[in-house]
């Protein structure tokens, strides 16, 4: 090679080096790598160093490229002189090969296929699901939010290694699933939001800008979750809803050696979350009797604020409906009128009352000011003392004499007081304006104004319930019988109109959760006797569906002990609740020892789900209430195939007809029933626990509920009885063909409708400003079951655990040393042997 040639090549190499150095600097200094930043760097926006590097990059790579091309061309031409065809041929061939290689791989990068060869097809979505997902239009963003801390525990224990291992494993599975979805199509965009990653805040801000509701969802997330965002909607699914840890099974697995057992809730739940993202949030109506008992009540023991919070966090809308309106006072108590008010309406009433009070005060204050001004003018006037005294006497109607001293003093007084009053007035005027504004804004709400116009109770309640998907009725009753802390039943009683609206609500297929405590009221008490008690229309309604509400309250032996040892007060509000034994979940019928003999029944689905939740925690659930009410499901004429009870008390308790202390029996005590007790042998016989205090069932609606003519016919049976028409009017009609023979007859097959009901024998189990995790679990799972969203209930259909190979210590040892040492050593020896053999002739 000539020296010139060498020089050119060295120049090319230098250019290459400069280009590389420049590129390194640029990559390090520039925030991002795109056209704009590059141009900016060229123009010196990022400083001289960067500018120099940009030049180096362009010049360096340019020179290197030119030299390479020239060299290549020269080589080509040189080759052209000799056997040119083949020489060029080779170069061309190599170039073609490179192009082909790159082309094939680019194509494969863009269009590829994955085959899942696992035995259980772990990495493929079912075809139906795939089909559904394919229908999705628009982009869904899936955010994997890693909170880096295990989920809120159901018990007070700190997270143990099972929880941590579960978290780690589930994160991996989520990532796999998310990859699966990403592979599925471009309509899924996946973002990982890791709290411990740098740049987390920036990422979060960016995402919140795109999806405003994300902010609230993330704040409310109690555990690492998967968030589905599309348009304006955000749905959250906790990791534990995807793979639930079964701690009890984990501890017991492999003959007690332990394993990690996770219950796969199925990718269907995941997919449904995506598909239902645009769905309206279900709305839950909560029927309460008093503003204190509503979700905006201010008193801690009674408020349902925690309920609202939990429901909202889990994707439900909440509407309070108050059944009473305050219309005055009656003696010591309040006079209430039955109504159906939304919270806003109730607030409107309150605002109106406050407004009128303020206005009244203003009138009085203004009059006072007037008066003072008058007096001041009088005292200041040039009139003589005598004339002033005369005027005063005329004003006040008695003889008043003021001298110059008193006059001055009065002026000073009045001058002092006037501004005070004026400022009071100003404040009250401000308050008046605020209240008026509030009043205006409330009135402006269509629902409020519409509601005010509707005076018919039934229509009002029906209207309020029409856009709700579920109804919760909460009746807190007994709180502490020893001190008579009881909410009177009269407060909770519903009007006939109320009941009618509720009946139609249920008849339209919507579910009801009834939380009602015992209705036992203190005997020999005037107040309660006056207000009237006994089962109200709603309880009768529920009896029609087969719910039997015992007229008793359950007392625990532990409570009786406390009474006996004079530690009654410690059991009061806020203290001692821990000594009450916890309730238990169950999925089978609770033996009652009564007449009804239990048959083989399928387990209660809600109970099953809740038992699984318990297994996740690895310990019994912690749900304690005082004075629960036993409930039974005994429908007439229907064979029960699925167990109804899901919540029960422990054994050490009994059902007490009168939970209040009396003179004869100041300490409650379990007395076995006497032989002549009429209730003996029935469901309500006095006996020891356990008692079912929570039932969930699907009731067959009586035909009269949705076919009024049936009800009419039933009623007509009692009319027009005569010896020739023993069945009353209906038989008369049938005999004379007045109406079709089957009109008004209810048949089992015709239009059978069902409704799901959950009843819990306590009205205050979810009161308080914040629900515990156990209470929340019970609430949300019950609601999911009620709304027919069975797919959201935890199940154990797919169990996952680490594979295990049973091996004894000895076997393990032999395998270990055998492979670790045996194999390499044997091959090394083999090598030596071969070497030796080769050496022989």
């Amino acid at each position: 090679m000539s020296s010139f040639h060498v020089l050119i090549r060295i120049l090319g190499l230098l250019g290459l080096m400069a280009g590389m150095v420049g590129t390194i600097i640029l990559v390090g200094e520039l925030p991002t790598f795109d056209w704009d930043t590059l141009r900016g760097a060229w123009e010196g926006q990022y400083g001289n160093w960067v500018r120099g590097s940009a030049y180096a990059v362009v010049v360096g790579w340019g020179i290197a490229l030119i030299v390479a091309t020239l060299d290549g061309l020269a080589a080509l031409f040189r080759a052209a002189g000799r056997r040119s065809i083949l020489g060029v041929n080779v170069v061309l061939q190599v170039a073609l090969a490179v192009v082909l290689l790159v082309g094939v791989n680019v194509f494969s990068f863009l269009h590829y296929q994955r085959w899942d060869l696992t035995r259980e097809r772990v990495f493929t979505l079912s075809p139906e699901l795939a089909e559904q997902l394919r229908q999705l239009r628009g982009e869904t963003t899936i955010i994997v939010y890693q909170l880096r801390q295990p989920a809120a525990r159901l018990t007070a224990q700190p997270p143990d290694r099972y929880d941590l291992a579960a978290e780690r494993t589930v994160v991996e599975k989520v990532k796999d699933l998310v990859d699966l979805f990403r592979e599925f199509g471009p309509q899924f965009r996946v973002v990982v939001l890791d709290v411990e990653e740098e740049g987390y805040d920036r990422k979060l801000a960016e995402l919140v800008r795109q999806f405003p509701p994300l902010d609230g969802a993330i704040r409310a997330a109690p555990e690492s979750s998967i968030l589905f965002c599309s348009g304006r909607h955000v749905q959250r699914m906790g990791f534990s809803e995807f793979y639930r840890l079964d701690k009890s099974a984990s501890r017991e697995a492999n003959d007690g050696r332990g394993n990690l057992v996770l219950l796969n809730q199925g990718v269907e739940t995941f997919a449904r979350n995506i598909l239902s993202i645009e769905e309206k949030r279900p709305r839950v109506a909560i029927l309460v009797s008093h503003p204190w008992l509503s979700t905006e009540g201010q008193v801690e023991e009674y408020t349902l604020a925690g309920l609202r919070k939990s429901l909202t966090n889990h994707g439900f809308d909440v509407r309070d409906i108050l059944t009473n309106k305050l219309v005055g006072r009656r003696g010591r108590g309040l006079r209430l009128e039955r109504a159906a008010l939304s919270l806003e309406e109730s607030r409107l009433d309150r605002v109106e009352a406050q407004l009128s009070a303020v206005r009244l005060q203003l009138i009085q204050n203004r009059a006072e000011v007037e008066r003072f001004r008058e007096l001041l003018d009088l005292f200041r006037s040039p009139l003589s003392d005598e004339q002033v005294s005369d005027r005063l006497s005329a004003m006040f109607g008695r003889r008043l004499a003021v001298g110059p001293e008193e006059r001055a003093k009065n002026i000073r007084n009045l001058e002092e007081r006037l501004p005070e009053i004026e400022s009071e007035i100003a404040e009250k005027e401000r308050k008046e304006r605020d209240l008026e504004a509030e009043w205006d804004s409330l009135q402006a709400q269509e629902s409020v104004s519409e509601g005010q116009r509707e005076t018919d109770l039934y229509k009002k309640l029906a209207m309020l319930l029409s856009d709700c998907d579920a109804l919760i009725v909460a009746r807190m009753t007994l709180i502490d019988t020893s001190i008579g802390d009881v909410v009177p039943n009269s407060l909770h009683q519903l009007d006939e109109q109320h009941v009618r609206a509720i009946r139609e609500f249920i008849a339209s297929g919507k579910p009801l959760m009834f939380c009602g405590g015992p209705t036992n009221e203190p005997p020999d008490n005037d107040f309660f006797a006056r207000s009237g008690s006994g089962p109200d229309g709603l309880e009768n309604l529920l009896s029609e569906l087969g719910l039997v509400l015992a007229p008793q309250a359950v007392l625990y032996d532990a409570e009786a002990d406390a009474y006996a040892t004079n530690q009654v007060l410690a059991f009061g509000r806020g203290g001692g609740i821990e000594s009450i034994p916890a309730l238990e979940f169950t999925e089978t019928e609770v033996p009652t020892g009564a007449v009804w003999e239990g048959r083989e029944t399928r387990p209660n689905p809600l109970g099953q789900a809740l038992l699984l939740v318990q297994r996740s925690a690895g310990e019994p659930i912690d749900l304690r209430v005082r004075y629960p009410r036993p409930l039974y499901y005994r429908p007439r004429g229907v064979q029960v195939t699925t167990a109804a009870s899901f919540l029960q008390t422990i054994r050490a308790c009994w059902n007490e007809d009168n939970p209040y202390p009396t003179e004869e029996r100041p300490i409650p005590r379990f007395d076995p029933p006497k032989p002549d007790d009429p209730k003996r042998g029935t469901l309500h016989e006095r006996r020891r626990g356990p008692f079912p205090v929570g039932v969930a069932f699907e009731a067959r609606l009586p035909a009269s509920w949705h076919r009024p003519e049936v009800g009419a016919m039933e009623a007509a049976r009692f009319v027009g009885w005569s010896p020739i028409a023993p069945g009353g009017l209906p038989t008369f009609f049938a005999a004379n063909a007045v109406l079709p023979a089957d009109w008004g007859v209810s048949t089992p097959q015709s239009e059978e409708r069902k409704a799901r009901i959950v009843a819990i024998g306590h009205g205050g189990w979810f009161s308080g400003p914040q629900l515990s995790v156990a209470q929340e679990a019970l609430l949300i799972h019950s609601l999911n079951w009620l709304l027919g969203r069975d797919y959201r209930l935890p199940h154990a259909r797919q169990v996952w655990s680490f594979p295990r190979v049973p091996m004894s210590e000895r076997e393990l040892y032999y395998w270990h040393t055998g492979t670790l040492l045996g194999l390499p050593v044997s091959f090394a020896l083999l090598g030596l042997a071969v070497m030796m053999i080769r050496r022989t002739r």
Binding site: S108, R114, D116, V190, R257
Partner: protein
């Protein structure tokens, strides 16, 4: 053709006649043995510890890839460099064999030895698959796909090593250069494992980094066409280049 087969036979025998093969074999089995032990521990552990995909225990480990990286260069460094150095290449190229046959035979010789290298690991199978009651208790398919991936990925690295060997005269240089170039396929995986998996950067990284192919797909029973296409196309490409390189020798 039979001539090719003769050359293949000689190549494979040559491996077994050289000490380096046994060193490689021993070191390799030592590493896999250790990893197998760790996997066994996970499969027999107490408590919430375990491994879901046993082959991952062997093939997703950094230690494995660090050792694996050395093997193809060590196996291929002698393929052409040695013959060049001792002059026997001349004898090979003056035999009535096409250049393509020579390259193919050498490649297959190396590849067959590579397969034989993996054969002893079949001993692990009864444990890793837990064969009882006439059935594999652990899914055997990931095992099959892992081995398939190993065969193809190995072919790729071997072809790369062979090409480098055909370019240089010294075996040492051939080995080192092959090692460095192979790094390109491996290093990317250890750079930022927790990166966001939706970006283009990650997708490109994933396309090239072989350890990720294994830890994500092959050891779990998934076959991704991208990986297979990459391995096969690169292997063919380097085989082609090696043939051209040999040809160009005649033009010197």
């Amino acid at each position: 053709m039979r001539a090719t087969w003769t050359l293949i036979r000689r190549e494979v025998t040559a491996y077994f006649l050289s000490p380096i093969a046994y060193v490689v074999l021993a070191a390799f089995l030592l590493v896999t043995g250790h990893l197998f032990y760790l996997t066994m521990t996970s499969l027999t552990a107490r408590g919430p510890v375990g491994i879901e995909w046993p082959m991952r225990g062997l093939l997703a480990d950094e230690r494995f890839w660090l050792v694996f990286l050395f093997i193809p260069p060590l196996l291929t460094m002698r393929l052409f460099a040695e013959e060049r150095g001792s002059g026997t290449l001349e004898m090979l190229l003056t035999a009535p064999l096409r250049d393509g046959q020579v390259v193919l035979a050498k490649f297959l010789g190396a590849w067959i030895f590579y397969v034989l290298l993996w054969l002893p690991t079949a001993i692990y199978l009864p444990v890793l698959l837990h064969f009882t009651d006439g059935r594999f208790q652990i899914d055997p398919w990931p095992m099959a796909t892992s081995y398939l991936g190993l065969l193809l990925a190995g072919a790729m690295f071997l072809s790369l090593g062979m090409f480098i060997s055909s370019l240089v005269r010294s075996q040492m240089v051939a080995a080192v250069v092959s090692l460095v170039l192979s790094l390109g396929f491996v290093l990317a995986a250890f750079w930022r494992p927790e990166m966001d998996t939706s970006g283009l950067t990650y997708r490109l990284l994933y396309f090239f980094s072989v350890p990720l192919h294994f830890s994500h797909d092959f050891t779990r029973g998934l076959i991704d066409s991208r990986h297979v296409v990459l391995y096969v196309s690169v292997t063919v490409f380097f085989l082609f280049l090696t043939v051209r390189s040999l040809e160009s020798r005649r033009w010197r």
